[in-house]
C-alpha cells in the first residue's frame, strides 16, 4: 500500500514539475521582443532574387524599436509595432504613418533574430526580399 502511495505521489510530482512551464509561444515572443527592442537596427544587406546589395560602410536605412512599442525609422515613418506569431513564423506588425500623415502599415516575417543580428523578409509581386540588419 505504501509503495502504491509513493508511486502515486512521485508520479504526481513529476507531472507537476513538467506542467509548471510557461506557455512556449508567449516565451518565444517575449524573447524576440527583448532582442528587437531598445536598439537601432541598421540595414547592412538586402537579398532579392539571389542578388545581394550591401550597404555596409554607407549611409543606410535604420529603424528603432522601443520597449514601449513605439517605432521610428530613418525615412520619418513612425508608429507602433508588435511581435506576433499567427502561424509558424513570428512577424513584426507596424502600424505607422509618414511625416505627411499618410498611413504606412507593413508586416515583415522574422526569419532570424538575435541580440545583434536580425533578418526580416517580405514578399512583393511573388518576389521575396530578405533584409539583413545589425544592431549598433
Amino acid at each position: 500500500m505504501k509503495i502504491i502511495k509513493f508511486f502515486t505521489i512521485t508520479a504526481l510530482l513529476i507531472v507537476g514539475l513538467n506542467a509548471c512551464s510557461k506557455d512556449e509561444t508567449t516565451a518565444e515572443l517575449n524573447v524576440a521582443k527583448n532582442m528587437i527592442s531598445d536598439k537601432t537596427w541598421y540595414l547592412d544587406f538586402s537579398i532579392t532574387n539571389n542578388v545581394t546589395k550591401s550597404y555596409v560602410g554607407q549611409t543606410t536605412y535604420f529603424i528603432n524599436f522601443l520597449k514601449s512599442g513605439q517605432t521610428k525609422d530613418s525615412d520619418g515613418i513612425s508608429g507602433t509595432y508588435t511581435v506576433q506569431k499567427p502561424n509558424t513564423t513570428m512577424q513584426v506588425y507596424v502600424i505607422a504613418s509618414t511625416i505627411s500623415g499618410a498611413q504606412a502599415n507593413y508586416t515583415y516575417d522574422i526569419e532570424s533574430i538575435g541580440s545583434q543580428n536580425l533578418i526580416l523578409s517580405y514578399t512583393k509581386n511573388g518576389l521575396k526580399t530578405q533584409l539583413y540588419y545589425s544592431a549598433k
Binding site: 509503495i3 512521485t10 507531472v15 506542467a19 512556449e24 516565451a27 547592412d44 526569419e111 539583413y132
Partner: protein, 239 residues
Amino acid sequence: MKAFKLSFSKLLIILLVATAPQFLSAQKLNSNPKSYLKGKFNGIYLFAGLDLAKQNIATGNYSSAFNYNLSNYNNNAFKPGFFAGISAQTNYKQNHAYSFDLGIHRMSTGTNYKESIALQPFLGTYSNFKADNVFWMLNTAVHYKTVLNISDTSKFKFRLVLGPSLDTRLSNVSEDNIAHSNYHRFVLKGDIGLEFTNRTYYTFFLHYKQGVTSFTAAPINTNLNSFDFGMLVKASDFF
C-alpha cells in the same frame, strides 16, 4: 500544455523513490531513528565541495528563429560550482561497500558547441540554440566502493568508486529555452572516482560524472559532464 512523456530517466526516479520505503520505513524511523539508521548503515556522512562542469552540445538539425553569436557563448571550458549533501554508507554481504548519496549542486557550466551555422552575408558562426549555464540540481547516487591496495591500508585507504547517479534540475531554464522546451528535467550519469580516507577522520574524493542521457530534448544532444572535488566527514562529528 505539452504532453507528458515518460522517459527512461523519469521511470528510474519513480522506481528509486518507490523503493525508498523499504530502506526508510517511516514507522521504524519514528520508533528509534538513530538505532534504525545505525543498523542499516555503517555511517552517515556529510559532504561538500566544488565541481567543474561542462556541456558538450551537438545541435543536429535543430532550428529556431533565434540566432546566437558563438563568439559570445562558446567557451569550451569547465566552470566552477559547489555542492553539499549527505551520504549513507553500508556494506552488502560484509565485503561490498556502497553508499547512497543525496546532494544539492549549484552548477555553473562551460559550453562546447560542436556544430555551428552561418548567417551569410553576416560574418561569424552562430547557433539557433543558446545553452543555459547555471543550474540548481538535486543529485542522487548509488556508489559501489572497493579498497585499492595502495599504501598501508590500516592508516590510509584509497577507494575506487563506481556507480550511477541521477541529476534532477530544480531551477527553471531561461525563456529562450522555455520557448522550445529544450531542457530535460533529469540527467542520468555514470560516475567513477577515487576516495582517500585518513583513518576515519575525513575522506577526500574526486568523482568524474559523465552524462549518459542527453540534458536537452532531441535533436539537440547535450552531454553534461563534471568533476566533483570534496570532503566527507562523519555526521556524528557535528551532531
